[in-house]
């Protein structure tokens, strides 16, 4: 790897000031599980890395009384997976985080870093989209918030400016009565497809629906057209889920890559949307 300078700020303010000063020559470094791989191959080169792990304010996972999980920029996948708050309030997040990569990557890689690197073949983006999560962003000029949809705009691309730092992701719990499921599929070490479904059911009919898709398209995507056909439809009518799957498959921006052709991925989307809906409904019944 090409030599780089290492900065170890101790406050958020110092971190963003350093980013501002370095401009395109510098990059934030958290777990490094994505960034350092790209730097080792020479795909990315930076003169300076700014280590967020020396900033105590960015640590940990907490649960606020308003029903929101806060995942700090330093929180690793393992921290989230084993957090008592996550297990108690959002067991789906704990179970999906447990299936991210392997135990060594989870011990080092961070959830916020994963979002900000915006690797398309990844689970946290589509999962956090299912929860309508938001990120808090700091820069030298102040703070702002953005939804995950606004943050991740394309493969390896976010809407962050060079001097902005995501300090945490705020994850509102699913509303009362809503149950979620997340299914992933793939033969490689990164997922080929991830589908999230969250549903609430009243009198045998779908009420609230969220459907999200990751890995197959260039960025985590909410499948609103497929959600629309489900709203108000009968849960026990198998044709409804098939139709939602068809619309999701047709509407998704699946790409050809080493994981398979776009056509193959659309077929997977069709099948996995149905399965994820079934699982979310069954969890609601239990």
């Amino acid at each position: 790897m090409r030599p780089f300078r290492l900065y170890e700020p101790t406050t958020i303010k110092e971190t963003v000031a350093r980013l501002s000063e370095l401009g395109d020559d510098g990059k934030l470094y958290a777990g490094g599980t994505e960034l350092l791989l790209a730097m080792k191959t020479g795909l990315l080169q930076y003169d300076g890395l700014v280590n967020v792990k020396t900033v105590p304010e960015l640590e940990g996972v907490s649960f606020s009384n308003s029903g929101t999980l806060n995942i700090g920029a330093r929180a690793t996948h393992s921290t989230v997976e084993h957090s008592a708050d996550v297990i108690a309030h959002a067991p789906l997040i704990a179970s999906v985080e447990h299936r991210v990569a392997n135990v060594r990557v989870r011990n080092v890689g961070t959830v916020v870093g994963n979002l900000c690197f915006a690797e398309p073949h990844s689970d946290p983006g589509a999962l956090l989209l299912l929860y309508e999560a938001e990120v808090d962003i700091a820069s030298p000029s102040g703070t702002r918030s953005a939804s995950v949809e606004e943050l991740v705009v394309g493969p390896y691309e976010t809407s962050l400016a060079g001097d902005e730092l995501v300090t945490r992701v705020r994850v509102p719990l699913l509303p009362n009565g809503m149950r979620g499921a997340y299914l992933k599929f793939g033969y490689h070490h990164r997922p080929t497809l991830g589908v999230g479904a969250a549903v609430s059911v009243t009198d045998g009919k779908f009420v609230d629906i969220r459907l999200t898709l990751g890995s197959a398209p260039p960025k985590p995507t909410r499948m609103r057209d497929a959600e629309a056909v489900l709203r108000g439809a009968a849960v026990d009518d198998p044709a409804v889920a098939i139709e939602a799957g068809r619309i999701a498959a047709e509407g998704c921006d699946a790409i050809d890559d080493l994981h398979g052709s776009a056509e193959y991925k659309r077929h997977l989307v069709q099948v996995f949307v149905q399965r994820a809906l079934t699982e979310a409904v069954e969890r609601g019944v239990k």
Partner: protein
């Protein structure tokens, strides 16, 4: 700030002993261990955190030493396979690998043993499914998985009896 090519002093504990060594920021943990401290048990293989041949434990948790920078272990405890080999309390685990023929070429074995130790530390009596789930990030190209699972099961059983 540490300049490129400037050395960072990394003071840490490795296999029970305190050491101090200077490394540049981009030095990977595996290179510091192998070249700086002559601990050759961790292997650089896939170099992308997939295969597990470079597994070492940092404060008891497995990491990929191929990609974790050496400076990250400042003030921490690192366990390599050399530390396991020198620790009599670990004989149950290493003997189980030998007795079950869970080793063929041996290249993946240091990583397998360290991952297994970490698993048994947090879950002393794992089911077969839990072993497979935890160990799925360690790849054996001699197709020895069945024997490896059996070795870990035996190590857990013997720890229970002993």
């Amino acid at each position: 700030m540490v300049q490129a090519n400037e050395k960072i002093t990394v003071a840490f504990n490795v296999n029970g002993g305190d050491v101090e060594i200077g490394v540049t920021p981009e030095t990977a943990l595996v290179d510091m261990l192998r070249d700086g401290l002559l601990l050759k048990g961790a292997k650089r293989s896939c170099d992308m955190q997939v295969c597990g041949a470079c597994t070492v434990l940092v404060d008891g948790l497995p990491v990929s030493a191929c990609t974790v920078p050496a400076f990250e272990v400042r003030g921490k405890s690192v366990t390599t396979i050399e530390g396991i080999a020198a620790d009599d309390r670990m004989a149950g685990l290493t003997d189980a690998f030998i007795d079950n023929a869970a080793i063929q070429c041996g290249f993946c074995t240091p990583g397998m043993v360290l991952a297994a130790k970490s698993l048994l530390d947090c879950n002393p009596h794992p089911s077969e499914a839990e072993i497979k789930d935890y160990m799925r990030g360690n790849i054996c190209r001699c197709t020895g998985y069945k024997k490896i699972v059996e070795a870990i099961q035996e190590a857990a059983r013997k720890a229970l009896q002993g």
